[in-house]
Symmetry: C2
Subunit: 203 residues, 2 copies
Amino acid sequence: MPPTESPTEPPSVVRRPGGRAARVRKAILSATITELTAGGYGALNAARIAERAGVHRSTVHRRWPDLDQLVTEALIDAATAAIPMPDNGDITADLTALLHSIVDYIGGPQTRVQIRALVADAARSPAIAEVVSHVWTTRFRVGEEVIIRAVDRGELRDDIPATTVLAVFTGPIYVRLLLTDEPLDAEFIDAVVELGLAGARRP
Amino acid sequence: MPPTESPTEPPSVVRRPGGRAARVRKAILSATITELTAGGYGALNAARIAERAGVHRSTVHRRWPDLDQLVTEALIDAATAAIPMPDNGDITADLTALLHSIVDYIGGPQTRVQIRALVADAARSPAIAEVVSHVWTTRFRVGEEVIIRAVDRGELRDDIPATTVLAVFTGPIYVRLLLTDEPLDAEFIDAVVELGLAGARRP
DNA sequence: CTCCTAATGCAACGTTATGTTGCGATAGAG
DNA sequence: CTCTATCGCAACATAACGTTGCATTAGGAG
């Protein structure tokens, strides 16, 4: 028994951050994402994850007593890839660049599966939903910053919350991504930027 | 063995549409939705579905060899509830009414779980994805009609596809519903309508 | 370098849920 | 009324999850 042990400790806190434990953890999370994007959501089991990670199955179960926690943690881990912050001093250019980089990032088939799985995870339990919505809120922070800067420059009106304005631009993209599967081409992005900006501009 | 049997037959085609089979099918689909919305996505098993439907478990497995097919079919069945078509002769009123009825319908926690599950189902196989995206395309048909009528009346510009224009209005709602869990209040809806219409109006 | 211990490998086990099958019973359809 | 598709029932096989005890290994501390 360890001498000084915190009574309430998250399951994946590593006591030896530089050592094997960190490698194993990373390998398992990576293997989970790979399996998830490769075989889809249903074809996911601990044995294959362990095999791909070069780890025994019991190790997986020891670290994550519930497999759903592992999947959620892996997805959140993968979802923290940063979207670059465009800053051209012009809201049209900034928004176009932002939406294009979003589409570039989430447009791929693997990322699409990951995001869909993330949405599904949020439906499993309120606790997961809270974490997932936090991930999205954090991710949208970049977009809000773009909006706020434009408001400060006097390009956009300041009587509507930045999250609302941003939703007008990002919403159409995610609807096509998640629901209708319509194409996310440059023409669509340009049209969305044009339509939304017409209303958001300072009169 | 039946005398005249189609070799490739969908699993849930009923040969006695008026009889017990139809009742059983309906009961199972309904029980699936109830279980799904009640206990969430993980707490879903054939035994409880069968019990709630007043049916033996083997009957469930006989009709739907794969439980995922049952869930998907039940969700699609439940997703065909019609959104009323607003027709006030004015695009602002029509859009506001449409978005409000969408929010009223999908805003509830049960429906939210259903929609998230539908999104997740689409990630399981390309075949399911096609069916699901078809469901959404059909559902958005009402909104497109609203847009097209406004274009015909000369209220909106005609140089942008109706699906794109509609996405600007519905997108923000679904983003909040599926991703960030921000509130879907009247203020938000009105702002979205105002922002989008400013760009979509005929100059 | 050596010791100590956290973390992993390994194997065996119990539990739960899925999906299948054979047979008898029943309820619609003609 | 008769026939047969469908269902109830029970038993079975399979697969995956999750747990546990013990041996082994590797990293950190001195």
